[in-house]
Amino acid sequence: MYPGQAARGSLIFEPVFYRHRNKGSSVMKSPFQNTSYLDTSTVEAEVLDWYEMSQAERFAESQKLWEVFVLLGGDYDPEPDTQSPFHIFET
């Protein structure tokens, strides 16, 4: 196993959101990237794109995803989470 292999496929959000993003996968090199395992061979390009952005850029991109959320009839209620301390109070 090469370093960082476990990081593959660790996307947290549904791929549909990625398809609606404007950014491509033109990953810029981080100065630290040369010496770490965090590059496109070990981490999804979309994740590296996200890491590469500034905080304001991430916020702006996230706001664009609301169009998809609304289009898909997204629900504002949190997903049922039996591990939440508030779970029984939210049902």
């Binding site: 370093p3 959000f13 010496t35 890491y51 029984i88």
Partner: protein
């Protein structure tokens, strides 16, 4: 024009000068660990004046309480969260959760000192919990919080300069949850890793390059934190049940 209600709500909080820090999913977006969150979580300073401003803000957003408890200084200081849903047309449905005290992190006063202020176009200077404190708040009993911690640290490392300051290296070695990255960091900074290993024994294994042992010990660390979180919430859940059954406070 964005369909997102988030900027409108954040602007309203800024307008009323509520002393609050963005935490949870929205903070994770800013720090690179998440791409989307459907609600807003805030840590707030618990004081009569600040709660008054908070109430005015919630009123302007036409936000009503959902679930228990009722917003008060007392319940916030006991560690409870208060939950609201907005009804104003342009933010309709959005959930806002506020909390005053959190397990495993310093007081709001200390968090405020370490806050990050992020200028967001069209909104203003948003106050966000510091990264190291955000990581601590994510050590919960919930599965979904642990991959967030992993990504928070990865994103921080990815953006780091070639020659990161020692306090950054220390932070990564203390909080990193990616086994391969821990082994990499321990090899690159063996002296610092060795110093910290007394408090984080899995760094011994990372220094030795024992990836499997690091994985096992990371799982053990996680389970201990999950158990501590369950233990923390046990009496609070009892209080919530009591209030819900009595319909108070």
């Amino acid at each position: 024009m964005t369909l997102s209600p988030i900027p409108k709500v954040l602007s309203t909080f800024l307008k009323h000068k509520v002393k609050a820090l963005l935490i949870g999913g929205q903070a994770c977006i800013l720090y690179g660990a998440a791409e989307f969150s459907r609600d807003i979580d805030l840590a707030i300073m618990v004081s009569p004046e600040n709660l008054e401003e908070l109430r005015k803000t919630l009123e302007e957003l036409d936000a009503e309480r959902v679930f228990y408890p009722v917003l008060s200084e007392e319940v916030l200081l006991r560690g409870h969260a208060c939950h609201f849903r907005c009804h104003r047309k342009d933010v309709k449905g959005l959930r806002i959760d506020v909390i005053g005290v959190m397990r495993g992190v310093d007081s709001f006063h200390e968090l405020w000192k370490r806050r990050q202020e992020i200028e967001l176009p069209g909104i203003g200077k948003v106050r966000v919990i510091g990264l190291a404190d955000l990581v601590k708040t994510k050590k919960t009993q919930r599965d979904k919080d642990w991959p967030m911690i992993r990504r928070l640290i990865e994103a921080d490392i990815y953006k780091a300069p070639d020659d990161p300051p020692e306090d950054k290296i220390y932070f990564w070695l203390v909080e990193c949850r990616t086994p391969e990255l821990l082994v990499f960091l321990a090899a690159k900074y063996p002296k610092i890793a060795s110093r910290i290993s007394t408090n984080r024994p899995l760094l011994y294994s990372a220094i030795q390059g024992n990836l499997e042992e690091v994985r096992t010990l990371l799982r053990d660390e996680e389970e201990r934190e999950r158990e501590a979180d369950r233990h923390y919430w046990k009496p609070l859940r009892k209080e919530l049940e009591k209030w819900r059954s009595r319909r108070d406070p």
